[in-house]
C-alpha cells in the first residue's frame, strides 16, 4: 500500500553526498594519522638526539677523567719508586711506567678533535703536568739506589708533592668543567626539545585548522546539497501537479470524445445498418421461394450486414458503455463481468451492497473503466481462474475492490500505462487507489471514493 511515490529523484545527491562525506571524514582521519605519525617520529627523534648529546658528552668527559686519573697514578708510582727499598721492584716499576706512558699517549691521541677553549686549556695543563713528571723521572731512573735515597726526600718535597697538588687542582677543574658540560648538555637538550615541541604544536594547529576548515566546507556543501534537493523536489512536485492536471484534462477530453463518437456510430452508422437489415429482410420475404440464387445472394448480404452491425456495436460499446445509461452502474458491472467470463478463461463474480444509482456520472464512468481495466488485465496477464468485483457504498464513500487469484506481480516495479491510467482517474475524483499484490499471490486492487452529500444528490 502506498501513495505513488517520487521514486526516481535518487542518484545524483546521494552520490555527491557520499563523496563529500568521504572527503571530509577521510581528510580528518588523514590529518589525525599524519599528526600521530609525526608525534611518534618526534619522540623517536628526541630520543636519538638525547642519545647523541649524551654520547658526545661522554666522548669528551670520559677520556679527560681517564687521563687525569692516569697522570695521578703516574705521579703515585713516582712517589712509590722514590720511596721503594726493594731492589727487585725496580725493573717492574720501569716497565709499569712505560705502560702508563703508552696508555696516556694513546688516550691523548684518540681524544676528539672538536675541543672547546676551556677543555683545551685543561688538556694542555694535563699534558704539561705529564711532560714535567716525565722530565723529572727520566734522570731519576738512571740513578743508583743510594743516590735515589739521598735525593728522595728533596725530590718529594720540591717536585712530586707540589705536582700532586697541581694534579689535584686540575682534576677538580675537570670535575667542574664536567658538571658545567652536563648543564650545557641539559640546556642543549631542552632547547632541542622545545624546538621539536614547537614544531609539533604548529603541526597540530595546522591539522586542527585544516580539519575545521574541511568540516565547515563540508557542512556548507551539505546544506547547499540539501537546498538543491529541496528545490528539485519542489520542482518535481510542481511538474507532477501540472502533469496531473493535464492528464485529468486528457481523461475528460477522451471521455467526451468517446461519447460523441459512440453516439455518432450508434445513431448514424447503426441506424443505417439497422435499416439496411430491415430492408434486406423485406427483400428476402418478397423474393419467391423457388428463386434459390437470389435468396443465396440476399443471405450473403444479410450476413455481411449483420457482422458489420456487430462490429460497429462492439466499437460503440467499447467507447461508451451504453449499459451505464440503460441499466445503471451495478448492472453494467455485472454485464462487464459476464463479458470477460465469456471471452476469457476467468470466471468473474460481481457483488454489490447498497449502491445508489444516484451517484454522479463521472463516478460511474470511473468505476466502470477501473473495473474494466482491472478485469482485462487479470484475464490477459495473470492467468487467474476467478475474479471478484465488490462495490460497497457506506456513509460518505464508495469502495470498489477487484480481486483475482492469478499469479500476481510486484506493484512497485510493474506499473503499466493501464495502472497509471486507473490511478489517475481515481485520483482525479479525490479517491484513493491502491494495489496489493505480490508474485504468486493474486492481486487486490482497491479504489475508495469520497462522496459528499452534494455528490449523492446530484444527477
Amino acid at each position: 500500500m502506498r501513495e505513488h511515490g517520487l521514486t526516481s529523484e535518487g542518484g545524483w545527491p546521494s552520490r555527491k553526498l557520499r563523496l563529500t562525506l568521504l572527503i571530509s571524514f577521510g581528510g580528518l582521519l588523514a590529518l589525525m594519522v599524519i599528526a600521530g605519525l609525526d608525534a611518534l617520529r618526534l619522540a623517536r627523534q628526541l630520543h636519538t638526539q638525547e642519545e647523541e648529546i649524551r654520547q658526545a658528552f661522554l666522548a669528551h668527559t670520559q677520556p679527560l677523567l681517564v687521563l687525569s686519573s692516569s697522570i695521578y697514578v703516574y705521579n703515585d708510582r713516582i712517589q712509590e719508586y722514590l720511596m721503594s727499598q726493594d731492589p727487585q721492584a725496580d725493573g717492574l716499576t720501569a716497565e709499569e711506567f712505560s705502560r702508563l706512558t703508552a696508555e696516556i699517549n694513546s688516550t691523548l691521541k684518540t681524544y676528539p678533535e672538536n675541543r672547546q677553549p676551556e677543555e683545551r686549556g685543561l688538556l694542555e695543563s694535563l699534558q704539561q703536568l705529564f711532560t714535567e713528571q716525565q722530565g723529572m723521572l727520566n734522570p731519576v731512573l738512571s740513578w743508583s739506589r743510594e743516590e735515589r735515597h739521598k735525593q728522595a726526600l728533596r725530590l718529594l718535597n720540591e717536585e712530586v708533592l707540589p705536582q700532586r697538588s697541581r694534579i689535584h687542582e686540575t682534576s677538580e677543574k675537570i670535575a667542574l668543567w664536567n658538571s658545567q658540560q652536563l648543564g650545557a648538555t641539559d640546556r642543549e637538550m631542552f632547547a632541542s626539545f622545545a624546538s621539536l615541541q614547537a614544531r609539533q604544536t604548529r603541526l597540530l594547529g595546522i591539522a586542527l585548522t585544516a580539519g575545521l576548515v574541511l568540516s565547515l566546507a563540508s557542512i556548507l556543501y551539505l546544506l547547499r546539497l540539501g537546498e538543491e534537493a529541496q528545490l528539485r523536489y519542489q520542482e518535481l512536485a510542481r511538474s507532477r501537479t501540472e502533469l496531473e492536471a493535464l492528464s485529468a484534462q486528457l481523461v475528460d477530453a477522451q471521455e467526451t470524445e468517446r461519447r460523441s463518437i459512440s453516439r455518432e456510430l450508434h445513431d448514424e452508422v447503426g441506424q443505417s445498418l439497422g435499416a439496411l437489415l430491415v430492408e434486406v429482410g423485406r427483400l428476402a420475404a418478397s423474393v419467391p421461394s423457388d428463386n434459390v440464387k437470389i435468396k443465396e445472394h440476399i443471405d450473403k448480404i444479410k450476413s455481411v450486414a449483420e457482422t458489420t452491425v456487430q462490429t460497429v456495436r462492439n466499437i460503440a460499446l467499447l467507447l461508451r458503455p451504453s449499459m451505464l445509461d440503460d441499466l445503471g452502474l451495478i448492472a453494467a458491472l455485472e454485464w462487464q463481468g459476464r463479458e470477460v467470463s465469456r471471452r476469457s478463461e476467468m470466471e468473474v463474480e460481481v457483488q454489490s451492497a447498497d449502491v445508489s444509482e444516484k451517484i454522479p456520472d463521472e463516478y460511474k464512468i470511473c468505476i466502470y473503466r477501473l473495473v474494466q481495466e482491472a478485469l482485462n488485465n487479470a484475464a490477459r496477464h495473470s492467468s487467474a481462474k476467478n475474479a471478484r468485483v465488490t462495490v460497497e457504498q457506506t456513509a460518505g464513500k464508495i469502495l470498489v475492490c477487484v480481486f483475482d487469484d492469478g499469479r500476481g506481480f510486484d506493484p512497485q516495479r510493474v506499473r503499466g500505462l493501464g495502472i497509471l491510467g486507473m490511478e489517475e482517474r481515481v485520483r482525479r475524483l479525490g479517491g484513493l487507489f491502491t494495489i496489493d499484490s505480490k508474485p504468486g499471490s493474486g492481486t487486490m486492487l482497491k479504489a475508495e471514493f469520497p462522496l459528499s452529500p452534494f455528490n449523492q444528490e446530484r444527477s
Binding site: 441506424q271 439497422g274 430491415v278 429482410g281 420475404a285 467470463s341 465469456r342
Partner: protein
C-alpha cells in the same frame, strides 16, 4: 376482424419504418402509433391504449426499461415486446422485471417480431433464439467452472411442470386448475422451486426457464 393494435417506440426513424413495414404486412396487426423516446411511448400508451408495445431498450430521455415499467402500471393489459442489441442476462432480467413478456434481438427483429407479438397477446413469453442460446451458454460455463451441479436435477417432476407453467405466464390459479391441484399446493411448489434454484422473483424464474430451454 379485431386486429391487434401495436405501438412502436424506437429513437431511430429508419428502424421504426422497417418495423412498421413488417407489422403492416400482417393482416391481423396494425400500427396505431410511433414514439421517438420513452417518455412519448408512455404518453401514447396512455392515450392510444395499444394491445402491444414494441419498444427499443436504449432510448433517450426515458429508456425502454423504465418506460415499460410505467406503461405496465398505467396499462396492465398492454404487453411489452422489448427490442435490444444485447443478449446479456442483465438486460433480459431487467426487461422482464419491468414487465416485458418478449425479448428480441434487433438483428433478428424482422424475422421474429410477428411471432413475438402473437405470443405475448396470448399471454406467453417469447425470446429470440440467440438470446436463449447466450443465456444457456453463460449458465453452462458458470456451472462447469464452479464445478457445481445443475440445480434443475434437484426438482421433482411435479415441480418441473409448475416451473414451466409459471414461466409461461400462468397465474397460480391457472396452474392449479391445469394440474388438478389446490392453489395452496401450487404455492408450496413455487416456493420450493425458488428455494432450490436460488431465485428471487418471477423475472429470474423466467430467465432460468429460458436458459434451460423450458420455454422460448
Amino acid at each position: 376482424m379485431n386486429s391487434i393494435r401495436v405501438l412502436l417506440a424506437d429513437d431511430h426513424k429508419l428502424i421504426r419504418a422497417g418495423l412498421r413495414l413488417v407489422v403492416d404486412q400482417q393482416p391481423d396487426l396494425s400500427v396505431v402509433g410511433e414514439a421517438d423516446d420513452g417518455r412519448q411511448a408512455v404518453e401514447l400508451a396512455k392515450s392510444l391504449n395499444p394491445d402491444v408495445v414494441v419498444m427499443d431498450i436504449g432510448m433517450p430521455n426515458l429508456n425502454g426499461i423504465e418506460a415499460a415499467r410505467q406503461i405496465r402500471q398505467i396499462r396492465p393489459d398492454a404487453a411489452v415486446v422489448m427490442l435490444s442489441m444485447h443478449s446479456d442476462e442483465g438486460y433480459v432480467l431487467r426487461a422482464l422485471g419491468a414487465g416485458a413478456r418478449a425479448y428480441l434481438l434487433k438483428d433478428s427483429a424482422t424475422t421474429d417480431l410477428v411471432q413475438a407479438i402473437h405470443a405475448v397477446v396470448e399471454g406467453k413469453s417469447f425470446f429470440s433464439p440467440a438470446v436463449s442460446k447466450v443465456l444457456l451458454q453463460d449458465y453452462m460455463r458458470k456451472l462447469r467452472r464452479s464445478g457445481a451441479e445443475d440445480s434443475y436435477d434437484l426438482l421433482s417432476p411435479r415441480e418441473r411442470e409448475v416451473l414451466q407453467l409459471v414461466a409461461e405466464g400462468k397465474s397460480n390459479k391457472e396452474v392449479a386448475s391445469l394440474l388438478n391441484l389446490s392453489v395452496y399446493t401450487v404455492e408450496t411448489h413455487r416456493a420450493k422451486i425458488m428455494q432450490k434454484l436460488n431465485l428471487k422473483g418471477v423475472p429470474e424464474l423466467i430467465l432460468y426457464a429460458v436458459r434451460k430451454g423450458i420455454i422460448s
